[in-house]
Subunit: 225 residues, 2 copies
DNA sequence: CGGTCTCTTGAATACCTTCAAAGTAGGTGG
DNA sequence: CCACCTACTTTGAAGGTATTCAAGAGACCG
């Protein structure tokens, strides 16, 4: 399916572009539908362009031979993914899989580089975007290496609490997926949740989690045991 | 100390710039000396510009309240660091410390952005650079989460073997630092080395490591136990 | 109401860290 | 050249945390 200027305008990637430019770009982008569980690309695939999520949700992850998976990030509508292969190297470093039925936009490397040369602001925006991602990775590496699972979980809950703004917060994914994002497995996450609950810091009810003791949770997040 | 055009020309950051441009830039950059162990910046410091290593060696790391440290990367002469704070956010996300007496160059955010606007190629280079760093982080997160210490160590040794090209390879840092880079501690690294040695895969002699069984080492690196 | 996917729980195990102590190496001053 | 200091490294024993394996409970959907 072809992309339309309206759709492109919704993507943060193309923020600030003139309507005329969007019309031109629309001809060069393709939108495709992917089913739940289907892969947009796999680690090692040649990266001939970049993608963006139009609707749905995509997760980027790496798998191990033993079957364990580590989620690197979740891509929400409007956000691009697979940019790294455009600027550096040729193969995608990870797998991209739709978590729900999704629509993704594709733009070839050539078309994107042309765009970048015509619109330097796009390049600066991309720098800001990659920098943010780097910052998140720094955080993720530090968390994995320096904190134990309950601390990582507590930090995650605090982040979600802040972002959602409502107190019984709702996990945006299955607990299995969350475990994989936090660098652990389902069983361990389950036990950690139960432990925090037993300490009276939270209440768990399905995907709803109520925070009872904010400061204690913060102390756990900073490895306060 | 002021920077000179000759010094700037050596930095990969400024690769491809005209000599005239380098002269102008030299006036805006400052070079300072840092002693071994001294910090160039600390996590949380406001990031008003970017740095590059002129000579010496700088490590970027995060510490935990418990005292453990995770090295994120080592910066060698010619390479920039602290760029993330220039494009996104304001505070440095990690600590930067000289491992040996070093000289580092500083360029203010404003001066760098001016340069980027005048020389779009610099921006594209920076994108390639950040993309490479992202790729490395993807790798680091996956290794930390999916592999055990012996596998991470084996993968590291294979990488060094390839880069150095000589068979008794030489560790470029202390084993304590290596441990911190691999996401573990000195004692565990020591035991892992001994284990690989006991299996006849390598020979360890101080910082020299000879690889005896390449394919077996590769199999360990891929979690072949 | 059966089937499937998600989640929980228990027991055993593996891996890594902690703590403590001793050994090694390199550099400096006597 | 030797003695000594310091930083780095190794080693052992004990403990803690996370994973594995296996089974059962719960939730959702057709």
């Amino acid at each position: 399916m072809d992309a339309t200027p309206e759709i492109l305008g919704e993507l943060s990637l193309f923020e600030g572009l003139s309507p005329e430019r969007l019309v031109v770009l629309a001809e060069r982008c393709r939108i495709s539908s992917v089913n739940k569980g289907e892969h947009v690309f796999r680690a090692g695939d040649p990266g001939n362009g970049l993608y963006a999520v139009v609707s749905g949700l995509v997760r980027i992850y790496r798998g191990s031979p033993g079957g364990k998976e580590q989620v690197l990030h979740f891509i929400e509508p409007g956000e691009p993914f697979g940019e790294v292969a455009v600027f550096q190297g040729d193969a995608f470093p990870a797998d991209a899989q739709a978590m729900v039925p999704s629509q993704v936009l594709f733009m070839s490397r050539r078309d994107f580089l042309d765009l970048a040369r015509q619109d330097p602001e796009i390049t600066l925006q991309m720098l800001a975007r990659l920098s943010l991602r780097l910052r998140r990775f720094v955080h993720q590496v530090a968390e994995l290496s320096l904190k134990e699972v309950p601390a990582r979980l507590a930090a995650y809950l605090l982040k979600e609490l802040e972002e959602q703004g409502s107190n019984p917060l709702t996990l945006p994914m299955s607990k299995g997926q969350l475990a994989s994002f936090l660098g652990t497995i389902q069983e361990t996450l389950s036990r950690s949740l139960k432990r925090l609950e037993g300490q009276g810091l939270i209440v768990v009810k399905g995907r709803e989690i109520g925070v009872l003791d904010l400061s204690a949770l913060q102390s756990v997040a900073e490895q306060g045991r």
